[in-house]
């Protein structure tokens, strides 16, 4: 699955991480989240949505699976389900290329 270029490289990207309570997979996802935010110097903010506390958020976003990392601003929205520990893969999927990748994000 190839990535699209981000249209707003200047602004902080906002992703959402949907988890369901305190489970091993949720904990792993939360650790990955920190790594991803650190890795991408361009600035990514990843909001955590615990659907057990906010089921209506899962309903409005149409979330079926957890963990789901979601970019609702992309058209169409992009979702990565399951294991998000491979930071490079995650960044690539959401269209954040490494600075030396040769891609221009503008």
């Amino acid at each position: 699955m190839s990535s699209s270029h981000r249209s707003d490289p200047g602004a902080n990207a906002l992703l959402r991480l949907y988890i369901a309570g305190d489970t091993p997979s949720a904990r792993r996802a939360l650790e990955s989240r920190l790594r991803i935010m650190k890795e991408w110097a361009g600035g990514i903010e990843i909001h955590i949505v615990d659907i057990l506390a906010h089921p209506e958020a899962a309903e409005s976003a149409g979330i079926l699976a957890t963990p789901t990392l979601s970019d609702e601003r992309a058209t169409p929205p992009r979702r990565l389900i399951g294991d998000i520990s491979n930071t490079a893969q995650v960044l690539d999927y959401f269209g954040f290329r490494g600075k030396d990748s040769g891609y221009d994000h503008s």
Binding site: T66, R79, I81
Partner: protein
């Protein structure tokens, strides 16, 4: 099926009525509460209708709110598609009696890496159920859920089981629809029924002789009894699915001893005083022997003695029937104008057999006739699948008897002299009386003869009587002297050989 089993099993499982009456009868009152039922069917077999009806009945009749989890159509589409059945989904949603969990496909890119769970789905369903105090949950269809995670079948199976278990723990009655590839192949794609369902119901929409035949079958009911076999169903506007009941299952035997006139006084005396009030009589004969005349007399005789009469005609048009009647001195027009007679003519091919049955039932409930004539059953048999016709007859005859209506049905013999029609073989066991009309040769003359072959619960004349027809109808004459064989060749012709 023993009483002991009944006592052991039935109290454990409280029943949730689906609102499809004859189906609820098949499963001893409804789906077991707090269990999961799979409703499988090919596309177009009525799964979503069944599921919606299950929720609708809970909401409108029993005060049980429901949750509709849709994986395929959007809630708006379901609202529109189900409107023709008279279900006001929008109003239920506004009153919070029905809550949708919209899991229909949305436009987004998705990638799956490694393990995941469907906690998102479960959380949404439980949230919706809590908010509406739901008792009934529909997931339509879980096959779509599998298709959404094509490469992750094992995970979806595990998660679906987890969801079913969690909903069961809440005491919720769950109905999952599942798609099938063929009418008589595997039960469902992904074999969902094997790991998740307590009960399995199959909806079919099979092609038979270029016609659709819809049925419902209960395949499995864990820990309880059910009636086996396919039952015809039909989709009815403003109602939804209507299963055509096999009334024979709970046939309450007659019997009224009250007699009503056949419309011909001589025939009444042959039957020791007329037909029984709640009985079905079969008139069988070749074409031109006078079946429709007997029908006309039967109807007119009822109307004259103050009854209401209904005629359902499958062979002739209203115009023909009215003209015939006039020729025999009976004025159908005046009778209809008085509201004492109703004549409905319809081509057998116009609808399916179950629909014909429903139409008759509705006519009876509307018009409340004291007697009904059906002319002819042979015409209906043309469009019937073999087993379907028998079911139809059982249902029809027991319906007529339950309503204490005097029924007269005709059947056409294929051969002109004697012989049995196929419908005759089918019908004879379900009818209470059989009257034969036959061509009988005597010398160089061809006469018409009438005889009462069978009359349940009564004495009857065993002779074969001549009859003639004129502008005043049927006139019975003397018995035949010889011994004509009414089942085969005429006696006279055999003697000559």
């Amino acid at each position: 099926m023993t009483t002991a089993e009944e006592i052991l099993i039935d109290p454990v499982l409280e029943r949730v009525r689906t609102g499809i009456e004859a189906f609820d009868d098949l499963v001893m009152g409804g789906l077991p509460r707090g269990r999961t039922t799979i409703v499988g069917g090919t596309p177009g077999s009525g799964k979503t209708v069944f599921a919606t009806q299950f929720l609708a009945h809970g909401i409108t009749v029993l005060g049980e709110p429901g949750v509709f989890v849709t994986f395929e159509e959007s809630p708006a589409e379901i609202e529109v598609n189900m409107a023709s059945f008279g279900w006001t989904i929008r109003r239920w949603r506004e009153a919070n009696k029905l809550v949708f969990v919209d899991a229909s496909p949305r436009d987004h890119d998705q990638m799956i890496i490694g393990n995941f769970d469907l906690a998102g789905l479960l959380t949404r369903v439980l949230h919706a159920a809590r908010n509406s105090a739901a008792k009934r949950i529909v997931l339509d269809s879980v096959t779509q859920l599998f298709d959404r995670f094509v490469a992750e079948q094992t995970s979806v199976r595990r998660e679906l089981l987890r969801i079913a278990t969690a909903l069961k723990k809440q005491g919720l009655t769950v109905l999952m629809t599942a798609e099938r590839n063929s009418e008589y192949g595997e039960i469902s794609r992904h074999r969902i029924e094997e790991f998740v369902a307590d009960n399995v119901v199959i909806l079919r929409n099979a092609l038979y002789r270029e016609r659709r035949r819809r049925t419902i079958e209960v395949l499995k009911m864990r820990g309880s009894r059910h009636v086996e076999g396919e039952v015809p169903i039909t989709l009815v506007e403003k109602q939804g699915i209507v299963a055509v009941p096999l009334s024979s299952l709970r046939l309450e035997q007659q019997s009224s001893t009250k007699r009503v006139t056949s419309g011909i006084s001589e025939l009444d005396s042959m039957c020791s005083g007329g037909f029984f009030r709640d009985s079905v009589t079969l008139v069988s004969g070749a074409t031109g022997t006078g079946k429709t005349l007997l029908v006309t007399n039967f109807l007119a005789g009822g109307v004259v003695s103050g009854e209401r009469a209904l005629l359902v005609g499958y062979e002739e048009s209203r115009g023909q029937l009215f003209r015939n009647a006039r020729g025999w001195g009976v004025d159908f027009e005046a009778m209809e104008a008085d509201g004492r007679l109703k004549v409905i003519c319809i081509y057998p091919e116009a609808q399916n057999l179950p629909d014909h049955l429903l139409m008759i039932r509705e006519l009876v409930q509307e018009f409340k006739p004291d007697r009904i004539a059906i002319d002819s059953l042979s015409a209906l048999e043309r469009i019937a699948p073999d087993s379907g016709f028998r079911e139809f007859l059982i249902s029809l005859t027991s319906f007529i008897k339950e309503h204490e209506i005097a029924g007269l049905c005709t059947a056409t013999d294929k051969s002109l002299v004697g012989g049995q029609s196929a419908s005759e073989q089918h019908i004879s066991t379900f009818t209470d009386a059989i009257i034969l009309l036959r061509y009988i040769q005597e010398g160089n003359f061809m006469h018409r003869g009438i005889m009462v072959l069978k009359m349940r619960g009564s004495e009857h004349d065993k002779q074969i009587r001549r009859f003639t027809v004129d502008g005043a109808g049927m006139h019975l004459g003397q018995p035949f002297n010889g011994a004509p064989d009414i089942f085969g060749e005429s006696a006279a012709s055999r003697r000559e050989e």
